[in-house]
Symmetry: C2
Subunit: 490 residues, 2 copies
């Protein structure tokens, strides 16, 4: 039922562009949010938070969820509140809660055994592994022939960074030139030339993870970085656009040019002082640091700069990848001349990892290696998700549902210009700015009280990160509640 | 059957110290290894390696395994070879292959839903989470009251390192003193004072991971580190003992003192030059870099030095934790005055993470945080493993089986003094040196041809990393095959 009816309903919704609530594609999904406690978190959540706090840092917990009752686009908390979830575990649940296709994965004995007998994939992979990498991960590759699996976004980026450094040094050294004895001995005590003083260029507002390599390229919030030593690497400005885009074409193009000029200046400066830039690390939309976007032309030119200076281009699709922008990979909107050198992923992709070109493949074993190198269990879940995505044309649905959501947000920014501005994004991967941080926090908080679970991005933005199964009727519910909230705070 | 007979058989084996092969505790486990191909990897594995190589770096792959057929202590490859596995996925499978207790975990609908609806544990944990952290992880804590879950050993260490830095700075700043504006702005561009120039002291031969923070404390093999920029942090010598220990007490004590003096000198040197040592990072046995061990007195004194200089002590039990040394945590053999500040784990613990004291708990949210913060599915598997460990007194079995294995190795080093030396380790977490690297590689290779899957550690050691279900009969099989190999190469 669940899997049968979805295509038809979704396609009808697309065809008709109906503004009436389409019937839910998730059998048994709640019809609307329901808030039963006067405060959120409610009393049961509060008790559990206190219990958790005796064991671990718990002050980031918003509420405790009931993952048996949560369904489709709705998350239920332990106090019985039911939220329409447009944040979806920080953009990570691709097709919502308790999707039958996902629940079925480990009912298959072979997959269960692959999950439980977790191998060291770099040394003793299971028979199924090469075929699964091809059929599942490479079936949605953004034009890159190789893939490495990892555990999460941070370690995907960490290992991808290492590939950028190794490839840069391979080019310096010559393709088949062996490491020198001095390189081998000096790297053991963290000194050049074996541990060379290479750098990566990243962008203000970017987020690439919280481990110490990736944290050195993360520049979104101070609380992520305070007290942690960091590599002294170059940071360039990322474009800050004026909205609506069609009215600010010239200024935004100038902004692109200014940022790109800075990228080039920084590369030249760092190369000159003997700290070469081995790679450029960038999100296609700055997904934590304010949902800042840049034009296809910006990314095309950025790639040309990377090529000019022999720096690898890494596009971090940890949050944008897996379909929410209406394409499998957000950077596919940019019409790049060639694929990026590396594309990292995690979150909606369920497994972490990165695609890369052959130039980025390490020639020697054990350079990009760890005990588990990912987890077959996660690849089987990804397979189930991608089957649903393909069978049900979820990317089309994302585009039509996203268009409706964006249009509704535009209406509100016109109605409340002192409260909202800068509606932006692609697919359902959207954002809107509130006029102040305090207002943004109030809007997110009041939405929650009305049963809508959303999230903030950067200082002022509300970010939309629903699952790919969000439909027209969910958008209508959201817009209705958002309208109420805006009316209350104006 | 599997779960019923084990205690009795194991206890009988302990009581009798029987040298006859006890009947296997794993119902249906092969009686002995069986090699059916003339080369390993066999033809089917070779074909799959070629297939894998078109998709990803594959030259570290030893063979492809059949995880449906592998059982207990035996791993079966796709060519039908059956190996007694004393390497166990680089020390990570705690109770062997296809253990019924593990296969049962996700037959429970509630646990399956916790696995499939993977939450952002720092924001929307499931109702079950606080109780599971307490009942499962804290039930085996080495005296530390708090725990954070992570995904793997590297990210456990990365995040634990961050705690060391944050705690050090908290002590500098004063408990409730807020960050300065300068700290907040400077950290965003990777500069002090916000991103302070703190260091961690680690040891030559140590291994703590391959992400960029942990890699800066890893000093086991050049191939792990070449071409990757590293933090310029102090590295001290780790004791290198002469064996047998009882004949070299004086020299080994002098070795301890020399290394400890160097630790103290390095801390003073780095503190003096404004690059304070915020923590000491050490394995209880250097598990990748040669299975180097140090005395309880060494670790007691190391802890005193750490306390003297206000540096946190992190004991990395990623490979040693979970029982293989005959105690749940290897450092519990050391009778430390207080627990270490932080103990990291992964591998046999199935989930990554770290235990810590309250001083190391960040006061603010989002400082130690990421999207998933571990994986409930892994905690449920750990719960099943720990139930088996407790019910079947596996730590006792590890001690008795390890004693037999160690005694057999001692016999061989006496018989072949020009080939073998320095038998060492605790429980079944043992090692023996070959006289040269070439010989070690040959022994490991020839063992494999006789159906024993083992691994190397450092330059010269063979390391033993069996599951906790290794029994006397497996040891007899190993010793028999090892004897044949030694006879052939002498």
């Amino acid at each position: 039922m669940w899997t049968r009816c979805v295509t038809t309903v979704a396609q009808n919704a697309i065809k008709t562009g109906s503004s009436r609530a389409a019937s839910s594609i998730v059998s048994g999904e709640p019809k609307e949010p329901k808030i039963v406690t006067s405060e959120i978190p409610g009393p049961k959540s509060k008790k559990l938070i206190a219990e958790l706090d005796s064991v671990t840092q718990s002050s980031s917990v918003q509420f405790f969820a009931d993952y048996e009752k949560s369904l489709g686009n709705y998350i239920t908390d332990v106090d019985g509140n039911v939220f329409l979830d447009i944040f979806m575990q920080i953009s990570s649940m691709p097709i919502g809660y308790n999707h039958p296709a996902m629940l079925n994965v480990f009912k298959d004995e072979k997959r269960l055994k692959a999950l439980v007998n977790r191998p060291a994939l770099g040394s003793f992979p299971g028979e199924y592994w090469p075929k699964k990498l091809k059929d599942v991960l490479l079936s949605v590759s953004p034009g890159l022939p190789n893939v490495m699996t990892m555990m999460c976004g941070s370690c995907s980026n960490e290992n991808a960074f290492k590939c950028l450094f190794m490839t840069y040094m391979k080019h310096q050294r010559g393709e088949n030139v062996d490491f020198s004895e001095l390189e081998k001995s000096s790297c053991m005590v963290n000194q050049p030339p074996g541990a060379p003083d290479l750098t990566l260029l990243s962008f203000h507002g970017g987020f690439h993870g919280r481990t110490m390599g990736t944290l050195s390229t993360t520049h979104s919030k101070a609380i992520h970085k305070l007290d942690v030593p960091a590599f002294d690497w170059p940071t360039a400005s990322f474009p800050k656009y004026k909205y609506p885009l069609e009215e600010h074409f010239k200024e935004n193009k100038a902004e692109d040019d200014k940022c790109l000029a800075q990228v080039e200046e920084l590369i030249e400066e760092y190369n000159k002082k003997g700290r070469p830039v081995a790679g450029i690390v960038v999100e296609p939309i700055q997904s934590e640091g304010g949902d800042n976007e840049a034009s296809p032309e910006f990314f095309q030119k950025l790639q040309r700069i990377a090529k000019k200076y022999g720096a690898g281009l890494l596009i971090d699709e940890v949050q944008t990848g897996g379909g929410p922008t209406g394409k499998m990979w957000c950077h596919e909107h940019f019409d790049l001349e060639t694929p990026p050198d590396i594309v990292t992923f995690s979150k909606k992709m369920i497994t972490g990892g990165f695609y890369h070109n052959i130039d980025q493949k390490p020639a020697q074993p054990y350079r990009i290696y760890n005990t588990w190198l990912g987890d077959p269990g996660k690849l089987f879940l990804l397979e189930a998700f991608l089957d649903v995505l393909k069978q049900q044309n979820l990317l089309d649905q994302v585009n039509s549902v996203g268009a409706k959501l964006k249009s509704g947000l535009h209406d509100y920014e016109k109605e409340y210009p002192s409260l909202l501005n800068s509606v932006r994004g692609r697919g359902t991967f959207l954002a809107v700015n509130a006029s102040t941080t305090a207002l943004r926090d109030k809007l997110v908080g009041n939405l929650k009280k009305k049963g809508i679970l959303s999230g903030g991005s950067g200082d002022n933005a509300i970010r939309f990160r629903p699952s790919l199964t969000l439909q027209q009727n969910h958008v209508e519910i959201f817009l209705d509640r958002f309208g109420q909230v805006l009316k209350e705070v104006k």
